[in-house]
Amino acid sequence: MGAFILRRMVGLVIVLFAISVLVFVIFNVIPGGDPALRLAGRHPTQENIRQIRKDWGFDRPLYVQYGDMMERLFIKRDLISYQDQTPVLPTIERGIPRTLALAVGAAVIWLVTGVLIGVLSAIHQGRFLDRILTVLALAGVSIPIFWLGAVLLYLLTFRYHSWAIFSWVPPGGYVPFATSPVGWAEHLILPWIVLAVVSIGFYARVVRASMLEVMNADYVRTARAKGLSARRVLTRHTLRTCLIPVVTLFGLDFGAAVGGTVILIEPIFGIEGVGQYAQESVAHLDLPPLMALTLYGAFFVVIANTIVDVAYVWLDPRTRIE
């Protein structure tokens, strides 16, 4: 197990290095992606462009520029944005707790609800409840997530805000947990639900499929035959096995949510986390923050992948064969 984890860690470093090179290539080498042209604005003179290239170091060899970028990102930590020359890293650091609060809460909701719906569907396979839940799950997967957020926000904070049950819904924004735990939760409930909806449908379908497979397995029949209660068979025998694929999925999806999907949710609700910073940088076509954020997102995804691999081997001893 120790050797396995060590090997995964080495792989992790290699992948992260490759990703940072790729991100650098995307932003600096793609034809037409000359950053000096962008900095110079509209109708620049040749002299202007040459000066900017020199000032920002774009005239040096690419590997020097890459090294410089990494140094500024990790060691000097003084990367500044092209748009307004503000430092990038403090803004990201300010955003991370907000983004994590959003993603963790949503993850709890989608995990619990998704597994619950999947189990209910499988137990009632083919009957009315199963049909309804399947349709709902499918609808959830098919909604544009930012649209759902926008429409819900409109309905609950404007159209039906006067209804007593919705009058507490705040019009977006973020309150730190330390300031007011209740306000924190109130501001996050809607974003949590919106971010969770897509995954709930997906998890419900996965759990349902693997439940149906496991429910017919011999050891489940044995468990039932020796007289265990239905609940005990479900919790101890069936559910345990069919949660293994969920663990894999969960790691991947959580990484993807923290590292990417938040870009579509945070601007709608004004959470001002990492995702909103990314969205604003896109709007300004501002490269240094985008590059830092892409790396940040990729880090999350890759680390989540590694944790999943390790957890998978730990959960399912059969995969330990080398």
Binding site: P144, W147, V151, G259, L287
Partner: protein, 329 residues
């Protein structure tokens, strides 16, 4: 246990059987009908609707215009800038936007772009994935590990961030490779970006399938008859992965329509002046309080299309999967 025997009616191939199963699945028939209706309405019927009923195109502004309804003269855009809302009439059925453009017409024409981007990017994505999956899976060895690492690398990126990064750099300067120049406002940019980002999601299952097929007797037999690698890949392996590819194509179209909307919403998808479902939401969202239809209607169009595609993809998988527990009388 149910008996999984499938009586093969004489003279029917796998696809014939699948077609029969599909026709007997009401969900598949309904979703296919919805999709055909959407395609018909967006492509051939949209200009007809414009010519016969409402006489203005998707980009025609009409800020100072009026419409007559029930003896009243209603401004298309009110003095306070609030556009007309939805109502039962031939023009401005779903209302107008702040520039007096007809929302219904824009959704029809936007559907063209969204469907076009979704379908072409899915085709491109599946095409690339087929090449990588077939070559990697069949050749194995060094080629396979290079392809595998490349796919892993793309896979490691958060989808939206990679798409946004690529689309942003391309949206600034366009792309010029040798004599080929793609303008920064070209539709090709979102299509290529979406296709590339999702290649690993399709290539991995295909490669897995090819890996198992490669060891089967019919491939060995083909090698024995002297068939070259290209022939084996195209004539022996490709037909065997056609069904899984078809299912994935349907699901990827659904997915890509959602991604197009998301990229357009972020401002790096379809160029702003071209209406697409994502762009219409993006432009309408700022006035959601005064004119909610501008946000709600295109979103519903996306949802209906994507649900139909997902249902059809699931039904296709059920119909094409030879191990599906379906009895045919």
């Amino acid at each position: 246990m149910t008996v999984e025997a499938v009586a093969v009616p004489g003279g029917r191939g796998g696809f014939g059987l699948a077609w029969r199963r599909l026709r007997r699945n009401p969900a598949a028939v309904i979703s296919a009908a919805i999709l055909v209706a959407i395609l018909l309405v967006c492509f051939p019927l949209a200009p007809l609707f414009v010519d016969l009923a409402c006489h203005h195109g998707p980009n025609d502004q009409n800020i100072q215009g009026y419409i007559h309804q029930g003896g009243h003269r209603i401004p298309v855009v009110g003095l306070d800038g609030t556009p007309i809302g939805p109502g039962l009439r031939s023009c401005y059925m779903l209302g107008a936007d702040a520039n007096g453009r007809d929302l219904a017409v824009r959704i029809l024409y936007g559907g063209r772009i969204s469907l076009f981007v979704g379908i072409t990017s899915a085709l491109l994505c599946v095409f690339l994935a087929l090449i990588l999956g077939l070559v990697g899976g069949y050749r194995g060895g060094f080629v396979d590990s290079v392809i595998g690492r490349l796919l892993d690398l793309i896979w490691s990126f958060p989808v939206y961030l990679l798409a946004v990064a690529l689309a942003t750099t391309l949206a600034v300067g366009g792309l010029s490779v040798g004599p080929l120049h793609v303008s920064s406002t070209s539709l090709a940019i979102p299509i290529v970006v979406i296709a590339v980002v999702f290649v690993p999601y399709v290539a991995r299952p295909i490669r897995g399938q090819v890996l198992t097929l490669r060891r089967m007797e019919f491939v060995e037999a083909a090698v024995a008859t002297g068939a070259g690698p290209a022939r084996i890949m195209l004539r022996e392996l490709l037909p065997n992965i056609a069904s899984i590819t078809l299912v994935m194509l349907t699901l990827i179209v659904a997915n890509n329509i959602l991604v197009e909307a998301a990229l357009s919403f972020l401002g790096v998808g379809v160029p702003v002046l071209t209406p697409s479902w994502g762009n219409i939401i993006e432009q309408g969202y700022s006035s959601i309080v005064t004119a909610p239809a501008l946000t709600v209607a295109p979103g519903i169009a996306i949802m209906v299309t994507v649900v139909a595609l997902n249902v059809l993809g699931d039904a296709l998988r059920d119909a094409l999967d030879p191990h599906a527990r379906i009895r045919i009388r």
